[in-house]
C-alpha cells in the first residue's frame, strides 16, 4: 500500500517535470539564445545553432572606437550621480517622513509614486523641450535629473522604511547622554539605516542604468548610454553587438536579484510604502 502510494507520488513528477521544463525553457531560453549570439561568428536560417563561434564581436565592442566604452562610461557616471543626488534628497525626506509629524504624510508619499504611476513618455518629450531652452538637453546633468525624478520613489520609500524600522529609543539614549540632534543622526541613526539605504541606492542605480525613454529623448544623440547603444545596434540588425550590450546591462540586474534580500531585511521590507 505504501509502495503504491510512493509510486503514485513519484508519478506526479511527470506533469510537474513537463510544466517546470516548459517554464525553464521559456525563462532561460531567451537568455541562452542571447548568450549564443554574443559568441556567434556565423548563424543563419535554418540552422539550430551557430555555424562558427568566436569573440570577434567582443573585440569590436571594446575597441577604442567601438562606442561601447564611451556608452558604458556615460552610463556608470550617470547612474552614480543619480544615486548621489537621489540619496541627498531622500535621506532628509525619508527621515522626516519616518520620524517627524508631517501633515498629509500619505499624500506626500504617494506624490513620489506619480512618475511611476503615469505614462512618462510625453513627460520626457516635454522635459526635453524645457531642457533644450535652458541648455540642459544632451548633457549629463540633464539626464541625471530625469533619472532622479524617476528613481526618487525607490529612494524615498525605502529610506522612509529604513528609518522607521529603527527603534526610536536608541536615538533617545544617545540624546540622553548628551549627543546633539545632528550627532545622534550621524553616529546612531545613519549607521543603523545603512543597509536599507544601500538597498535603495542599488535600486536607484539599476533604475538609472536601465532607463531608456528619458535617455532617448533628453540624452541622445549627444550623451550615448548603454540602452541607447543597444537600441541603435539592434535596429541596425547587428545581433552580436546588441546581445553583448544586453549582457552588460543584464549582469548587474541578475547579481542584484541574488543579493537584494541581504540588504532589504523583512523588517524594512514590510514598512515600504507605509
Amino acid at each position: 500500500m505504501t509502495a503504491l502510494r510512493n509510486n503514485l507520488s513519484a508519478l506526479w513528477w511527470v506533469p510537474r517535470g513537463i510544466v517546470f521544463g516548459l517554464m525553464a525553457f521559456f525563462i532561460f531560453g531567451p537568455l541562452f539564445n542571447m548568450l549564443l549570439w554574443t559568441v556567434t561568428e556565423k548563424w543563419y536560417f535554418p540552422h539550430t545553432f551557430p555555424l562558427e563561434y568566436g569573440f570577434s564581436s567582443w573585440e569590436k565592442v571594446f575597441a577604442p572606437r567601438g562606442g561601447a566604452l564611451e556608452s558604458l562610461g556615460n552610463s556608470l557616471v550617470v547612474a552614480l550621480l543619480t544615486v548621489v543626488v537621489s540619496l541627498a534628497l531622500a535621506i532628509p525626506a525619508g527621515y522626516a517622513l519616518a520620524r517627524l509629524k508631517l501633515p498629509l504624510r500619505g499624500v506626500i508619499l504617494l506624490a513620489f509614486l506619480i512618475p511611476q504611476a503615469f505614462p512618462n513618455l510625453t513627460v520626457y518629450v516635454n522635459i526635453a523641450r524645457i531642457f533644450y531652452e535652458i541648455g540642459l538637453n544632451g548633457t549629463i546633468p540633464g539626464v541625471v535629473l530625469v533619472h532622479v525624478s524617476h528613481g526618487l520613489v525607490y529612494a524615498v520609500w525605502i529610506a522612509t522604511a529604513a528609518f522607521s524600522a529603527i527603534d526610536p529609543e536608541l536615538e533617545q539614549a544617545a540624546r540622553n547622554i548628551g549627543a546633539g540632534a545632528l550627532r545622534t543622526f550621524r553616529d546612531v541613526t545613519l549607521p543603523l539605516a545603512a543597509p536599507g539605504l544601500m538597498a535603495s541606492a542599488i535600486f536607484v542605480f539599476l533604475e538609472s542604468l536601465d532607463e531608456f525613454t528619458g535617455s532617448y529623448f533628453v540624452g541622445a544623440p549627444d550623451v550615448n548610454m548603454l540602452p541607447l547603444l543597444l537600441y541603435t545596434t539592434a535596429s541596425g540588425g547587428n545581433y552580436q553587438i546588441a546581445s553583448i550590450t544586453a549582457l552588460l546591462l543584464l549582469v548587474p540586474s541578475l547579481v542584484f536579484m541574488a543579493v537584494v534580500e541581504r540588504f532589504l531585511k523583512a523588517d524594512v521590507l514590510s514598512r515600504v510604502g507605509q
Partner: protein, 273 residues
Amino acid sequence: MSRRLLGLLLVLPALAVIALLFILPLIMSAVGAFQVDGAFGWGNFVKTFDLYTKDIIFTVVIVSLSTVLIGLASIAIGGYLTLGNNPVAVSILRFLYRWPMFIPFIVVGQLMRTFLAKNGMMNNAAVSLGLMTPMETMSFLDWRGIVFAFVWKQTPFVALLVAGAMASLNRDTIEAARNLGASKLRVLFEIIVPQVAVTLTVGLILSFVTMMSVLSVPLMINAQSPTMLTADIAFRVNAYGDYGVANALGLISLVLASSVAWIYLRISLKERT
C-alpha cells in the same frame, strides 16, 4: 522651529524635483495637446483619431490582454507556492519564476527579438522536437511578441507581491476548508484569491501603467503599423517635430492609464486611513 516646519523643509527639495521635473511637464503636455499653431483648438485630436484610432485600440487590447495573462500566471504561481505539498517542487518553482524581474525592458526587447524570431530558439526547439518543419516556422515579432515580452517581464513582479500576500494569510481557514474536502483549486479561488485581491489589483494596475509607458519593447519588437501609442509618440516627435499630436496621444494614454491608476489611489488611500 516646530517639528512640522522642519519636517516640511526636509521633504521639500525632493518634492520640488517631482513638481518641476514631472508635474510641470505633465501639465505642459496636457496644455500642448490643445494647442494648434499657438491657438487653442481640437485640431490635434482630430488628426490623432484620423491617423491613430487603430493604434489606440491595438494598445488597449495588447495591454489588457497582457494584464489578464499576468494576473492568471501570478495566481497560479502564488497558489502553487502556498498550497503545493511537495517541498522540492515548491522550491524549484520559487527558484524559477523570479529571474526576469529585474531585467530591463530594453534587454527584454532584444532577448525576444532573437528568441521569437523565425530562426529563434523557440522555433528551433519545435523543429528539433519534430513538431514542425523549418519551412513552417514563423516569426512571432508582432503583437504576440509584445504580449509575450510583457508577460515574461511583469509576471515575476506581480507573482512576488501576490505570493507574499498569500504567505501571510491565516492558514487555519485554508486547512479547515481542505479538511472539509474542498479541492485545492476551490480553496485557491474561493478562499485565497479574494483575500489577496487588493494586492493583486495593485500589482496589476502598476503593471498596466508600466506597460502603457514602455517605449523600448514596441520599438524593438514591432515598430510597424499597427503599433503601440508610445512608438507613435516617439515617431511623431522624431520624424515630424509634431509636438501637438504627440501631446494629444500622450493625453489619451494618460486618460487610459489614469482610469486604472484612479482605482489604485482609492485603494491605497483607503488602506492608509
